[in-house]
């Protein structure tokens, strides 16, 4: 399963943090810091994987993608395929692109709840539930519409 999804900028500031196994906030901070420590030491022309046994425990690994000022990081265990996870990052980024039109870091900064909504449409409790970005966009829009219709505004 997927253990965590983290989006952070190249300075190590987290923009989206989702752990699918409960971690207390302090521990989250520590994990993010250790991940950033490894990420920032890696050149651009190297592979996108590394083992995180030291950080997350046995049998875990991490795949990341460096896009513009952001790192998109998925942490997972041996029941996921590395290349599939790399594709999933692509799906996530594509969806963001569709939802925000020319997504940039600021969009991620100011759309805390929406980011979570999008991510929850892709990964549910550590399982991948949807991999088509158009379906995801549809679902996200549907949620926004329904929320509007019932409450005064969203």
């Amino acid at each position: 399963m997927i253990r965590a999804v983290i989006v952070m900028n190249t300075q190590g500031k987290p923009r989206l943090v989702r752990f699918y196994e409960f971690q207390p906030p302090e521990r989250q901070k520590e994990l993010i810091r250790s991940i950033y420590g490894v990420l920032s030491s890696r050149a651009d022309n190297v592979s996108n994987f590394f083992k995180t046994d030291v950080i997350f425990g046995e049998d875990t690994r991490l795949v990341y993608k460096h896009l513009a000022t952001m790192y998109f990081v998925f942490v997972f265990d041996s029941s996921e395929n590395e290349l599939a996870m790399l594709d999933l990052i692509q799906v996530f980024v594509e969806t963001l692109e569709r939802c925000f039109k020319n997504v940039c870091e600021l969009d991620l900064v100011f759309n805390f709840t929406k980011l979570h909504t999008i991510l929850d449409e892709i990964v549910f409790a550590g399982q991948v539930v949807e991999t088509s970005s158009s379906e995801i966009v549809k679902a996200v829009e549907e949620i926004a519409r329904k929320s509007l219709s019932h409450s005064l505004q969203l």
């Binding site: 399963m1 500031k13 987290p14 923009r15 943090v17 989702r18 699918y20 196994e21 409960f22 207390p24 906030p25 302090e26 989250q28 901070k29 890696r42 050149a43 022309n45 190297v46 592979s47 996108n48 994987f49 590394f50 041996s78 029941s79 395929n81 590395e82 290349l83 599939a84 790399l86 594709d87 900064v109 100011f110 759309n111 805390f112 709840t113 929406k114 979570h116 909504t117 929850d120 549910f124 409790a125 550590g126 399982q127 991948v128 539930v129 991999t131 679902a139 549907e142 949620i143 329904k146 929320s147 019932h150 409450s151 005064l152 505004q153 969203l154």
Partner: protein
């Protein structure tokens, strides 16, 4: 106030722009205060902006938190919602604790507004956990309601909360609701998928609930089901994180999906499931070969191909076709120049191959070697790992050369990783790959010269380890050590200091192999040694001591070779132990002796005086002490009239004495000792470790000498009378030697390698003359320990012997693979410890444990030799035990002062040693018995004491203890299997059950114990003890429980030494037989428990198979 105003304006502005995701403040506020709260509340965006512009984020967060705490108590749900979102944001991205707000999140869940409700769920799913939130029961009802909601935007967050924050209770309560969602016609497939995914955590929390979920999940395994993907994911998790067996019968269903499904995500998961199941049921391979090969051949998706390669590499044992195809595919990965990800994964999958398939790795060898220079550290590491798996005896040299070459080109970090890999590979399992130690030693030296070299510690360990274990490598080691020692440039590099320590020790210890000791001496004393840390320097000085001693003795022995040989034979065992070694020594030293003249010796002495004199005032005690030690010896030698004819010089009696004495000091070899030896030395009863020893000052009276180095120095100069001259350095040297060896021993122990206890205090001191000084008593210590280090020889390999002692760490089964020759141990211990101001004691102990030759044909358990020799070592262990347990400087210092000018081989330990010995032995016996292992009791109590004489001095009694124990080590033979001996000194950690598996033949014990222990200051006691444990021939046909041999032998032994010992002995004896039984019963009961547990563990599975009894179907499927 200003800030508030600002934020209010901001808030309003942002609402005007419609920027905020959360609604405006138009809710029907019930009063003015909430309205003000709402109006002036910062929105989430305001807060984010404020955080971005804040110079002092810490204090801002603190202010924000105060605001949030106020707002969150608002009765207005929008205000509360925004406050909670802000808090969630801070918690998620700024790691603030929000567990205190759990109740407020729960409050939001029943809200009629989806946005508010979703905010509540978001907050709850990010922060709730049964371990930190006790409010979960409160949400049960609300969750149930929301699960049924037709609105997806409500039901999926509810499911999410259930999936990631649920407690076992909650999941039990809601499992039926969840189940109904699976097939609900009202729910969208969107929600149904999520409900399937939610079943995974629910099943994990309540294994029992799998009975209700599994049938539905199996139903979803149809290729047309919309729930297929979710169900397969759930099965993949269940199979890979728990026991896969209960799902084995689902193989036909999985197989159908594999054949029919075209979704790569699903196929990947299915293959992962099969990778687990195939381990349980290898016959599945046949069913899988075709579909997997098909997928591998035609799928354009690399991820799927990767998964196929993985299952082939890791789980397909037999058929060649898929393996060949997979190797083809993996080549594409490895050769993907433009994609480091594929290269990395390709190399990584290659590491899954089993040793028998290493040809597949070999095929990619070129690419792998090339990858060593890849810019990606991951790829380099994988390549390195792969290369070390390709190493065999025949290509070790070649591959090491490649690696060394790459390490010199790599960046420092990876360079050291390579070196580490080489070191680890070569030293694996006692250097089993290394055929040519001369080559390996030069390789080590080459590594040291690598500019990035940082593995000093490991190289130090291995150099010393090889020196101790592989006799044949010593000449080359000395040569290599010389080169490293002599190079002044290397001394500047602090990373090499550990290596310097090793080479200095080797040069000193094996100086006899050196062609030019003079050169070594100069290297050891070169001015740049001041770069070295004090501990390494101390090793250097000790090496100087050994070198000068060797040169002196060699010089004096020229022309007296036959003499010296007999001297050596008399005094040392190490030298006579190995004939070839001796011969080599003779040959080498002949050349050396030509070089040595009285002039050169004098030059040496002067050089030492010049270089070491400043160090005698050094602040570091280690350095200072050793420097003085050497200087003391040099002074002694300077007393000799060197101007005489050489012949005259050599025949001088005094000179001969020095020669003989010094000969004994360093002549015994250091050997390995078991790492566990120390543990086995019990803390002796009655020894006061914590007691303040200030009283000793009074007892010592006027002999008390302050321990300060300065004073001791002056004492020494004061005592420059002849006798003193001679005795002192020697006396000190032997105790220093003990220190040194102890230290070394410690160090070896810490490296987790084994060592030989006998060399810990190897002393062969010869009392040549009584030394009186002031009214002191005369001390005499004579100890000769002869122990043959057991050899392990591998048949058929012409390879130097590597001494391994620690086999008992291995499981008996693994060690049983080594064939071993039976060994003969001759053990001769002659000990005369002595010293106290008021007593004169002579303890002579001779214990000879010889193996009976008639037994030598029997297959004996590994390491029996050590048992025997260890018994002789007990004495030493004991005294060492004292030393180790008394590390406090106070105590050791008082001992020292007491012993200041005597041949003070730890008088206290010596005095106590006999009683300690008894304790120790008792303890040992207990231990042997309790482990139910086979051990040789007789070697534990080998005593045959003979009171020969009583000595009186100063109205004191003199104690004499002579112990002679002759015991034949019983052999344990196993009927049919040629199993080597295993020393099981450390087996007590093992469960008795394991040992009881070995069938065992009864043993013969010949035990002759004759003991006359004795010692007290004012009494003279004679205890004669004879106990004979006769052979238990009558038992020989019976199948006896393991360890019975010891029971008999130990029980037949009588301990008259002290009544307590006797009692104890008896009780052991009694408990022994009981224990035997209780062990058996406990073993069986533990088996029971184990099985029971196992059953429990499998329960969900069992029940699963009950629901879907598909076993016959599965069998058909396999056929």
């Amino acid at each position: 106030m200003a800030a508030e105003g600002y934020s209010a304006v901001q808030t309003l502005a942002s609402y005007a722009a419609g920027y905020s995701p959360i609604g405006s403040k138009a809710s029907p506020a019930g009063g003015f205060a909430p309205l003000v709260d709402s109006l002036f509340q910062r929105s989430l965006d305001d807060m984010i902006k404020a955080l971005r512009t804040a110079s002092d984020a810490e204090s801002l967060i603190h202010r924000l938190l105060t605001e949030i705490r106020r707002e969150i108590r608002s009765t207005d749900s929008d205000t509360k919602c925004i406050a909670l979102l802000k808090l969630t944001y801070l918690s998620s991205l700024h790691s603030l604790d929000m567990s205190w707000a759990a109740f407020h999140a729960v409050e939001l869940l029943p809200s009629p507004f989806p946005a508010v409700k979703r905010a509540g769920y978001l907050c709850a799913s990010l922060s709730f956990h049964p371990s930190s939130t006790d409010l979960l029961p409160l949400v049960t009802h609300q969750l149930r309601k929301d699960l049924q909601s037709p609105n997806t935007s409500i039901s999926s967050p509810a499911l999410h909360l259930l999936a990631i924050s649920s407690s076992p209770d909650l999941s039990i309560h809601l499992s039926n609701d969840l189940l109904s969602l699976f097939s609900s016609s009202r729910a969208s497939s969107h929600v149904r998928c999520r409900s399937v995914a939610t079943s995974l955590p629910v099943i994990r929390l309540n294994p029992d609930s799998s009975t209700i979920f599994l049938p539905k999940l199996v139903e979803a395994l149809s290729p047309s089901s919309p729930l297929l993907s979710a169900a397969v994911s759930v099965f993949c998790e269940l199979v890979s994180s728990g026991n896969p067996r209960p799902y084995l019968h689902l193989a036909p269903d999985f197989h159908r999906v594999l054949i029919e499904c075209r979704n790569n995500w699903v196929l990947i998961k299915i293959i992962k499931i099969f990778a687990r199941l195939i381990l349980l049921e290898p016959r599945l391979t046949r069913k899988l070969v075709d579909p997997i090969c098909d997928l591998m051949g035609r799928s354009p998706a690399k991820s799927l191909v990767l998964e196929c390669i993985r299952i082939v590499f890791s789980s397909f044992p037999e058929p060649e076709t898929p393996l060949k195809l997979a190797v083809e595919k993996v080549k594409e990965f490895v050769a993907a120049d433009d994609d480091p990800n594929l290269r990395f994964l390709g190399l990584h999958t290659l590491t899954l191959l089993r040793p028998g398939q290493s040809w597949a790795v070999e095929e990619n060898r070129e690419a792998i070697v090339k990858s060593l220079a890849d810019p990606d550290p991951n790829i380099r590491q994988e390549a390195l790992r792969l290369i070390t798996t390709m190493v065999f005896e025949n290509n070790l040299v070649e591959i090491s050369a490649i690696l060394i070459n790459y390490s010199s080109k790599s960046d420092p970090e990876f360079s050291n990783e390579i070196l580490e890999a080489i070191l680890a590979t070569c030293s694996r399992n006692f250097y089993e790959l290394v055929m040519d130690f001369d080559w390996y030693v030069s390789l080590l030296a080459e590594m040291v010269r690598n500019p990035h070299f940082m593995k000093g510690e490991e190289v130090e360990r291995q150099l010393v380890d090889i020196a101790l274990r592989v006799k044949e490598a010593r000449p080359e080691l000395v040569r290599v050590a010389r080169n490293l020692l002599i190079d002044p440039a290397l001394l500047e590099n602090p990373l090499l200091h550990r290596v310097h320590s090793a080479v200095a020790w080797i040069s000193g210890e094996f100086i006899k192999f050196s062609r030019n000791p003079m050169e070594i001496l100069e290297a050891l004393l070169q001015p740049r040694t001041s770069f070295l840390p004090s501990l390494v320097r101390a090793v250097y000085i000790q090496a100087v001591f050994k070198v000068v001693t060797f040169c002196f003795i060699s010089f004096m022995n020229v022309g007296r070779i036959s003499d010296s040989k007999s001297d050596i034979d008399k005094n040392t065992d190490a030298a006579s132990e190995d004939g070839s070694d001796e011969a080599l020594f003779k040959k080498e030293s002949l050349g050396v002796k030509e070089l040595l003249t009285s002039k050169s010796i004098l030059y040496m002495l002067n050089l030492i005086l010049k270089e070491l004199s400043p160090l005698s005032e050094c602040d570091e005690v280690e350095v200072q002490e050793r420097a003085r030690n050497v200087l003391g010896f040099v002074h002694t030698l300077n007393e000799i009239d060197w101007n005489r004819e050489e012949e005259q010089l050599r025949s001088d009696i005094k000179v001969r004495e020095i020669v003989n004495f010094m000969n004994a000091v360093f002549s015994e070899e250091l050997g390995p000792i078991s790492i566990h030896a120390q543990k086995r030395v019990p803390l002796p009863e009655g020894i006061e470790l914590k007691e303040n020893l200030n009283d000793l000052v009074e007892i010592l009276g006027n002999h008390y000498i302050a321990p300060s180095p300065l004073i001791s120095f002056s004492t020494r100069t004061q005592n420059h009378n002849e006798v003193k001259q001679e005795s002192e350095p020697a006396a000190e040297s032997s105790s220093l030697l003990a220190e040194h060896r102890k230290r070394h021993g410690l160090y070896y122990l810490s490296t987790t390698k084994d060592e030989d206890g006998s060399s810990d205090y190897p002393r062969a001191t010869d009392l040549t003359k009584s030394v009186h000084s002031h009214s002191m008593t005369e001390d005499l210590l004579m100890l000769t320990a002869q122990s043959s280090v057991p050899r392990l020889t591998k048949p058929s390999k012409p390879r130097p012997t590597v001494v391994k002692l620690d086999e008992f760490d291995d499981s008996p089964s693994s060690s049983s693979k080594h064939a071993k020759e039976p060994q003969r141990d001759v053990l001769f211990v002659n000990e005369k410890p002595h010293s106290d101001n008021y007593t004169q004691r002579l303890v002579k102990e001779t214990s000879t444990a010889s193996n009976v030759d008639s037994l030598s044909k029997e297959k004996s358990l590994l390491g029996e030799g050590e048992i025997t020799s260890s018994s002789s070592r007990k004495e030493k262990h004991n005294s060492r035990g004292n030393h180790y347990v008394v590390p406090s400087p106070l105590i050791s210092f008082s001992t020292r002062t007491q012993n200041h000018n005597e041949v003070k081989q730890e008088s206290e330990p010596a005095a106590e040693s006999s009683s300690l010995l008894a304790e120790h032995r008792k303890r040992h016996e207990l231990y042997y018995l309790s482990t139910m292992k086979d051990e040789d009791g007789s070697s534990d109590y080998p005593r045959a004491t003979d009171l020969t004489k009583s000595v009186h001095s100063h109205s004191m009694t003199e104690d004499l203890l002579k112990l002679t124990a002759q015991s034949s080590v019983p052999r344990l033979t196993k009927p049919s299997k040629p199993r080597p001996t295993v020393v099981k000194l450390d087996e007590f950690d093992d469960s008795p059950s394991s040992s009881s598996k070995h069938a065992k033949e009864p043993q013969r014990d010949v035990l002759f114990v004759n003991e006359k222990p004795h010692s007290d200051n004012y009494t003279q006691r004679l205890v004669k003890e004879t106990s004979t444990a006769s052979n238990v021939d009558s038992l020989s046909k019976e199948k006896s429980l393991l360890g019975e041999g010891e029971i008999t032998s130990s029980s037949s032994r009588k301990e008259k030494h002290n009544s307590r010992g006797k009692e104890r002995q008896r009780s052991t004896k009694k408990s022994e037989s009981k224990e035997g039984k209780s062990h058996r019963s406990s073993t069986s009961s533990s088996h029971h428990r184990g099985r029971h547990k196992h059953k429990q563990g499998r329960e969900p599975g069992d029940t699963a198979s009950n629901i879907a009894p598909k076993a016959p179907v599965f069998e058909d499927f396999l056929l």
